[in-house]
Amino acid sequence: MSRVAVLTGNHAVAYAVKLSRVDVIAAYPITPQTTIVEKLNEFIEHGELEAEIVHVESEHSALAACVGAAAAGARTFTATSSQGLLYMHEMVWWAVGTRLPIVMAVVTRAIAPPWNIWSDHNDILDQRDSGWIISMAETNQEALDMTIQAFRIAEDERVLLPVMVGLESFIMSHTATPVEIPDQEMVDAFLPPRNIEKPFILDPNNPISHGSICGPGCYMEFRYLMHNAMRSARKVIYEVEREYEKIFGRHYSGLVENYRLNDAKIAVVTLGSIAGDAKEAIDNLRSEGYSVGVLRIRYIRPLPYDELRENLCTKDLVVVVDRNVSMGSCGVILTEVKSVLYDCPKKPEIKGYIAGLGGRDITYSDFENMVKKAYSEVEEFGKIIVPHEWFGLKNEVRC
């Protein structure tokens, strides 16, 4: 029977992994991911989950162990944050090249130095180009649902790419909210056992090798196949969500979520749990007479090219709030959005804000102020003249 429990985001993910009948877990502790693996370890030691857990000695080894286990037919999972994710970066790319359907939870945390255990999105976005399917949840329920769906998406033969599900440090990972834990039988109906032959299996009776040298004559083709799989994933994600809704009754809207955006003239684009604050801000702004809505990006990869265009091309003003920065440039999401909207027949004004790095709160009033500032800029100058700026910096730093 499905039941509602008050769960932290991390525990919600742990329950999802348990329900998905994962075979091998390999992970290394890092705040704030730790309670995911602790909970899974508890499930295993109490006999609630039949799985092998490998207490590896580093994150690089964690993902390496997942690659080995998946190549030998197991359904695998790992979780990490920040420094750990960066440490395993080589293996992040390696996993894509093996086309193995590994699932990883990333509790997004700022990158050191200085040491900072609170949330921003630089760590997960740093993996943007690797070929992983990358999603960000807004709520603990969504984190649970996205994790179960991740196994289906990854293991689909049209995809065969690893999937990472992001959730924000502390705001979600350690904050408890009511979450519906689905019934095991229903999850089994939704998520059958993995087809261990895809994409390949290490079987002494049928020897093959994976990963030998292949020169300039064939490398590009393998990369193209990965890129193509990512494109197929777009369709697969929608199919999986529709099936999930039929079985579990919860609706998800694919690569993006549109909140009160259809008739709006201004759009706020962001990702993660801060979208919740953005929605609150939008409700307030609307009551003040602003015509505004939120577009929350749920999947950063595959890039929601069509969805961004459909939802944003007709807007007058798009405000992108990045909880990350590509040093020397601007926010990563701003770059992606601008490059997509360049193809609009009529381009909206676009304003980028960098906010909330290192876990600095972005409140709903901050969102209101960001929208109002951008709006005033357009009112005064007819267009956006400062394409992007940092929001909420302390005055001591400004020069």
Binding site: G97, R99, H210, G211, C218, E221, F222, L225
Partner: protein, 88 residues
Amino acid sequence: MKIHVTVISKPTIGASGKTGFWRTFKPVIDYEKCTNCLICWLYCPENSIEIGNGMVIINYEFCKGCGVCANECPFNAIDFVPEGEYNV
């Protein structure tokens, strides 16, 4: 060449071609002296010495001419001669 989903290779003899072409020196067994002790077969790094009917046979298609067999033969039954000089 059909590309599979990912970079999978299958067991193949001569994966790097007919490596016999690499030789500058060639081992030649003197069957008068050979006692079929199998030491040459044991130490061949290339798996290019075959065990036939009571005799060992060098597979010249792949033998790289390293000379380990000639160096190790306890009976000096393998000559190691410049490639091209001695026609078998």
